[in-house]
Structures are given as structure tokens and as C-alpha cells.
């Protein structure tokens, strides 16, 4: 070993992906071959909406391969950094890799530049990562993220949705992605209000995911046997990204389920 290679010493790039592509392309996610979509776990519902103080994003925990449930405890919503969250629907392995790569991309930029990217900058960075993944999407391994966060310029927060070609769209109230997204969005249309505070917001999120899991086989509801609750994160400028403890989500899920049981039996 003889110290750093020139790629490490050049000061031209603040992107981790560019660096990895230059010096360690084998570390980046790639596949060879044709349509692999039927082999890999997938499926999800991710929802995201504005709250009174910022943003809430929530996701179910199920992953499926065809009609088999591959995982009951996958976490498809993760913090991207201290002030933004990302949720991903699509091929599970690639989705998790993309989240990890994106988290690192933001951290790398922050360390190299000594400052965070703006929220719009983060969204554009994610869009260009998706464009880079287009060849994977053509093989049936598509991933579609939902990204949201706050920054000083937009303290109320912004929500961005994407498509596999890297198209970026800002959503102004609420949005959902994944196989159960239609059902969840229907619920949000009725339940969402602009002034939801934390507990009410969690309750709305659980209701929407409940509806999605009710009608979509690839979306899992709250698992009362294993005590697995949907992942829920809130983001605001004061506290940054906060994960709602699973026990709190579970107790709200029990309320929702009780309410629905009573309605069904009345």
C-alpha cells in the first residue's frame, strides 16, 4: 500500500457515488441479466403528509416474493439525515441499498463541504441517483422513493415523489407510494387535515396504513402477535427527525383496531 490514490486527493468531487464509481465500482449495486423482478422481494405502502409542525412519513413492514411473505419486519422508511426522511417502494434489496447509499451521499457531502445540502438539493441528488439506476429498472428491479424533510428555507417542509426515470414531483399535502398506495391515499383524502399534531397525525397514519393492508396483500398491518408496528417518523425544524417509539404506535394501532372491531360488530 502506498497512500491515497489520485482519486482521493483530487478536490473536484463532493459526491460519494462518483468516487465509488471511479475507485470501487464493484461496491455499487448492479446486476447482470434479464428480467429478475419475479425473484426479488418487493411490495409496500409508504405514506407521507404535512402536519401542523412539519412532516410525517410512515411505512408498513412487509416484503413479499410473489404470493409469499418474505419478511414481517422490514424497515422501508429511514432517516436520510438529521432533517429528512426517505421511504422506498419496490425491489427490497435494491431499495435498502439505495437508502444506504443515499444516506452516505448526504453525509459525505456534508463532511466534504462542511455544510448540509439544501432540501431541494437533496431531492435533486436523489433524482439523479434514480436516473443512474434506470438500467436496473429496465430489468424489472425498480425502486421508487418518497422523500420529505425540512430546512431553514422551508421550515414547514416539502414532500417529493419520484418515478423510475428520475422524474421529481413536489406533493403539497399528502402522498403515498407502493402497491397499497391507492387505498392509503383514499383514506388520507378523508382523514388528513393541515393542523394535525403528533398524536392525531400518528392516528391518521395508522388508519391509512390499516386501510392499505386491508385490501392489498403486499402490505402488512400492525402485527399484534409479534408486536411489530409500522415505522413512523416525524420531521420538524426544532427536533429534526424523530422516530415514534414502536410501543406508542402499537397502542394507537390497538385503539384503531378496537374502533374498527366495534363498527364491524354493530
Amino acid at each position: 500500500m502506498s497512500g491515497f490514490s489520485p482519486a482521493f486527493l483530487s478536490s473536484t468531487s463532493n459526491s460519494f457515488i462518483e468516487l465509488a464509481r471511479a475507485v470501487a465500482p464493484e461496491a455499487l449495486p448492479t446486476t447482470a441479466g434479464h428480467d429478475l423482478g419475479h425473484l426479488a422481494p418487493e411490495g409496500t405502502t409508504i405514506i407521507c403528509f404535512r402536519t401542523a409542525t412539519g412532516i410525517l412519513m410512515a411505512g408498513d413492514r412487509r416484503a413479499t416474493i410473489g404470493n409469499m411473505i418474505a419478511s414481517h419486519s422490514m424497515e422501508k422508511v429511514r432517516p436520510a439525515d438529521d432533517f429528512s426522511v426517505i421511504g422506498i417502494a419496490g425491489t427490497a434489496g435494491l431499495a435498502l441499498d439505495l437508502i444506504r447509499l443515499y444516506q452516505l451521499e448526504l453525509e459525505h457531502y456534508e463532511k466534504i463541504e462542511g455544510a448540509r445540502l439544501s432540501l431541494g438539493g437533496k431531492a435533486n441528488r436523489l433524482a439523479s441517483m434514480l436516473r443512474g439506476n434506470l438500467s436496473l429498472a429496465m430489468q424489472g428491479l425498480s425502486v421508487v422513493p418518497l422523500f420529505a424533510g425540512v430546512d431553514e428555507a422551508t421550515p414547514a417542509g416539502q414532500i417529493f415523489s419520484f418515478d423510475v426515470t428520475g422524474g421529481k414531483y413536489e406533493e403539497h399535502r399528502f402522498h403515498s407510494i407502493g402497491s397499497g398506495s391507492g387505498y392509503a391515499r383514499g383514506a388520507l383524502k378523508k382523514l388528513w387535515r393541515p393542523d394535525l399534531h403528533t398524536d392525531a397525525a400518528i392516528s391518521v397514519a395508522v388508519e391509512a396504513l390499516f386501510d392499505a393492508s386491508d385490501d392489498d396483500s403486499a402490505t402488512g398491518g400492525p402485527d399484534f402477535v409479534r408486536q411489530i408496528a409500522p415505522t413512523i417518523f416525524t420531521v420538524d425544524l426544532e427536533h429534526g427527525v424523530v422516530e415514534i417509539p414502536s410501543a406508542d404506535v402499537m397502542s394507537i394501532a390497538i385503539e384503531v383496531s378496537d374502533r374498527r372491531t366495534r363498527k364491524a360488530q354493530s
Binding site: 491515497f4 482519486a7 486527493l9 478536490s11 468516487l19 475507485v23 444506504r100 466534504i112 462542511g114
Partner: protein
């Protein structure tokens, strides 16, 4: 006359380069890195609020430097790239100060012997251990030589004065407030005067940090609070 007309002996060549690098480093203010009971404090006299001498490399690794800004900035960025790539290819816990220090040492030694001029920098690489016993401090010189220290380490023009002031002091058992005080006093003694808070740059690697990233910059307000006694 078979000898080349401009022959310079290797000894003289190395000595000239070392003198050149030392002179460049001596012009700048010093940096001191001290262990405290719950972490590692990196402290510098640096009037600029944006051109940092202290930086985060990775979750538990901090970086401090003196000398020529563009040269140590190149080293800092290389360190971040090395650490992030290693952490991504393997696992976050596989990024170690020892590996990073080796890469720095090789690079500095290579530049020192083969380039037209050596890097005028001195570096400290600090790693926060999971327990206090596994904390590590490495000091790197312009020629790639490495020394590991146990309690505290100073670099820069006044490094010897600072080391003399802190001699025999075991900072690793003291709380942050006291260690900060010792550090500031040592910097002030070496600079033969007082150092106003706005001329200080400080950061800690905090063993009690909640996330995986333990590096935290101390704002002027936090430093002023630490100095109040």
C-alpha cells in the same frame, strides 16, 4: 570530473526539505487534542469561523491539522473519502484510525521524498474508543512519521511549549470543563497572551452521543459556557 556539477547528498536534501516544512508549520497557530473522561476534545486557536483546522472524518474519528490550508484540506478530504468508501464496502465499524493513519503516513512520506516540495502540515488523527481504554491519538509529521500519544497531543509552531505546559497531566480522568480549561490555558501560554473565545475552534468526540456520529462542533456560546467558572 565524473561527478555531476550540482550533486547534493541525500542527507542534505532531506535536511533541506525538513527545514522547509518545519519553517512553514512554525508560522501557524497550534492545535491541541486532549482526552477527557467521556470523550476527546479537539481545540485550536483559529480566528476564521469557516476555514476549519478541526474536522469530522467518520463516526468516531476526528481530524486536526496545522500548516498550509490547501494541503491539509486535501488530506482531510482524502480521509473522508477513504473512510466513507471503507465503511460502505465493509461496515461502519471497520473504519479505524490506524488504517487511516497508515494511509496518511504513506501519502506524506511519498510526497516528502518524491515531490518537488514536501507538504507543510502536521496532523492528528483521534479515534474515540467504545471504552476510554481504547481511545487512540496519532500525530503525523510532514515526512510521514507517526507517533501515538496517550493523554494529549499538540501540533504546530508552539507544540513544544504546549506539551511542556501540559506535561505530567492525565487529562483522561478529568471532566470536559477542566480539560477545556487546561487546553485553553496551554494555547494561551504558548501564544503568550489570552485567547478570546471567538478565536477558538473546538469540537468533541462524545462517547455519550446518541447517533452513530459522535463528532460535535462547540459553538462560541457553548465554549463561553465551558469557560465560565
Amino acid at each position: 570530473m565524473s561527478q555531476a556539477p550540482f550533486y547534493v547528498s541525500p542527507e542534505q536534501l532531506m535536511k533541506d526539505r525538513a527545514d522547509f516544512a518545519r519553517k512553514g508549520i512554525a508560522r501557524g497557530r497550534s492545535v491541541v487534542v486532549l482526552r477527557y473522561d467521556e470523550g476527546i476534545l479537539l481545540l485550536a486557536e483559529n480566528p476564521s469561523p469557516t476555514l476549519h483546522k478541526i474536522a469530522e472524518i467518520y463516526d468516531r474519528i476526528g481530524f486536526a491539522a496545522v500548516g498550509k490550508y490547501n494541503e491539509f484540506e486535501t488530506m482531510r478530504q482524502a480521509g473522508v473519502r477513504y473512510a466513507d468508501l471503507r465503511g460502505y464496502s465493509y461496515h461502519r465499524s471497520d473504519v479505524t484510525a490506524r488504517g487511516l493513519t497508515n494511509a496518511y503516513a504513506q501519502t506524506l512520506a511519498g510526497v516528502f521524498t518524491t515531490e518537488s516540495k514536501p507538504f507543510e502540515v502536521e496532523l492528528v488523527v483521534a479515534e474515540l474508543g467504545l471504552t476510554a481504554e481504547t481511545d487512540q491519538l496519532y500525530r503525523l509529521s510532514y515526512d510521514g512519521s507517526v507517533i501515538d500519544e496517550t493523554e494529549h497531543v499538540a501540533i504546530g509552531g508552539q507544540a513544544d511549549d504546549i506539551t511542556a505546559t501540559l506535561k505530567d497531566l492525565s487529562t483522561s480522568v478529568l471532566p470536559l470543563r477542566e480539560v477545556f480549561d487546561h487546553g485553553v490555558r496551554a494555547l494561551a501560554t504558548a501564544a503568550s497572551g489570552t485567547v478570546p473565545t471567538q478565536d477558538l475552534e473546538a469540537a468533541v468526540l462524545d462517547r455519550n452521543a446518541s447517533g452513530h456520529r459522535t463528532f460535535k462542533r462547540l459553538s462560541d456560546a457553548m465554549m463561553a459556557q465551558l469557560r465560565e467558572d
